[in-house]
Point group: C2
Chain length 204, copies 2
DNA sequence: TTATGGTTTAACCATTTGGTTAACAAAGGT
DNA sequence: ACCTTTGTTAACCAAATGGTTAAACCATAA
C-alpha cells in the first residue's frame, strides 16, 4: 500500500521493535509501551498500524516463521543425497540460528501457548513438507545406501540434535558449567560433530 | 466441597492448582484468580500461604525441577555402561515425560525467561552433574568400546533426542500431519528407535 | 464456656495495561 | 491557496490484576 510516510518507515520500525520485545518476553510478557519505547514512537502508533497487540504479535510471529521455514524446506527438498542433506542442514542451521538466537524458542513457545497458530502458518507458501524426504529415505534404504530407518524418525532426530541445544541453552550452560563464550565454541564444534554423529548412525 | 476441615492441606491444593496453571500458561500468562478458582479457594489464601505470585511460582518451579533432575542424575551416575545408560535413559525418560507432558517445556521456557533461576536450583541436592559421565565416556573410548566422541557432545545428543520432540510437539504434529494419538505412537516407537540410533552411532 | 490463634472470606485498593480520542501536523492533489 | 488524506501525539479510559485489610470462622486449650 502506498502510504505517504513522513517518517521513512514507521511500520517497519514498529515491526523490528516488536520482534525484539516479543521474542525476548513472549506474547504475555511483552508490553505495548515497551515496544513503543524501543521503536522510539508513541504507543498509539502501534494501534494505528496494527490495531491490536494480538495482530502485531501475529505479524511478528508470521515473519519469524517465514524466516525459519525456508531453511527447513530447502534442506529437505533439494536434490542432494540424504547424507549431504544432513551435512548441509547441520552446518547451515547452526550458523543461521547463531544469528537469530531467540528464534527457535520463540516459535516453539508460542506454538505451545496457542496451537491454533499452526492453522494460520500452515497456509504459508514455504511451509515445510516431508513427503520427498520420506520417499528419498526409503529409496536410499532400499538401495542399501542407508541402514533401515524410518524417514519421520530420522527427520525428528535431525531437528532435535540441531535445534534443542539452542532452545535449552540456559540448562546446558548450567549443567556443563560454561558461559556464553564456551557455549558458542561448543555449538561451533557441533557443526561437524552432529552430522558425523548422524551419518555414523545411518550410513551402511 | 466439605469446608468442615480446617487446613486439610490447603497449601497442597494451592500448589497443585498453581502447578497446573503455571505449567500451562507460564509465569506471565498465569492469573492468580485462575489459580484460586482451580484450587476452589479464595484468592487471598494464595497470598496467605505464599505471599506473592513470584514466590508461589518459585515453589512450583522448584518442585518441577526436583522431579526432573533425579531422572537425569540417576541416568548419568549409576554404574552401568554407557550403552546401558543410553538404553535405560531413553526408555525411562520417554515414559516419564508421557506422564508429565508440560514439564520440559515449562522448565525450559522459564529458564529462558529468567536465567537467574538457575542459581537457585543449582543448590538443589539432586542437581545433575556430568563429571562421572564424562570420564566414563573417555574410559570406554580408550578401551575401544566406543568410537571417539566427546562426553559433553554425547550428553547433549542424548537429551536433545529425548526431550526435544516433547518440547516441539505442536511443530512436529503439524509437519508430520499427525494428531495426539499418532504422536503418542511415534513417541512409543522412539523408546527403542532413539537408543538404537545413538548406539549405532557410537558403538565400535 | 470462653479466650486464643490460626484459617478463610468478601470487599477494597493502587497500579498496570491495552486501547481510544481528539486535536494537531504534514503531505498531496486540485 | 485550500481541502482532503495520512501520520503523530498527549491525554484519557475502562478493565484487569496483584495484593491488602478487617472482619468472620472454627477447632482447641484453659
Amino acid at each position: 500500500m502506498a502510504k505517504t510516510n513522513k517518517n521513512q518507515d514507521t511500520e517497519g520500525q514498529i515491526l523490528t521493535a516488536a520482534k525484539n520485545v516479543f521474542q525476548k518476553k513472549g506474547m504475555d510478557g511483552a508490553r505495548m509501551q515497551e515496544i513503543a519505547d524501543e521503536a522510539g514512537i508513541n504507543k498509539a502508533m502501534l494501534h494505528y498500524y496494527y490495531r491490536s497487540k494480538q495482530l502485531l504479535f501475529e505479524a511478528v510471529f508470521s515473519n519469524a516463521f517465514s524466516l525459519l521455514a525456508p531453511q527447513l524446506n530447502k534442506a529437505l527438498n533439494d536434490d542432494s543425497s540424504i547424507e549431504d542433506k544432513v551435512k548441509n542442514f547441520t552446518n547451515n542451521y547452526i550458523s543461521f540460528i547463531s544469528k537469530h538466537p531467540y528464534l527457535p524458542n520463540f516459535i516453539i513457545q508460542e506454538l505451545n501457548r496457542n496451537p491454533k497458530f499452526f492453522e494460520k502458518i500452515q497456509q504459508n507458501a514455504a511451509f515445510p513438507t516431508l513427503e520427498k524426504f520420506k520417499t528419498q529415505v526409503t529409496e536410499e534404504v532400499e538401495k542399501g545406501m542407508l541402514k533401515p530407518i524410518d524417514g519421520e524418525q530420522l527427520f525428528i532426530n535431525i531437528i532435535s540434535l540441531n535445534i534443542f541445544p539452542f532452545v535449552a541453552s540456559p540448562l546446558i550452560k548450567g549443567i556443563l558449567k560454561i558461559d556464553d563464550k564456551g557455549f558458542k565454541q561448543l555449538m561451533e564444534r557441533r557443526k561437524t560433530d552432529v552430522s558425523e554423529f548422524i551419518i555414523n548412525s545411518i550410513k551402511k
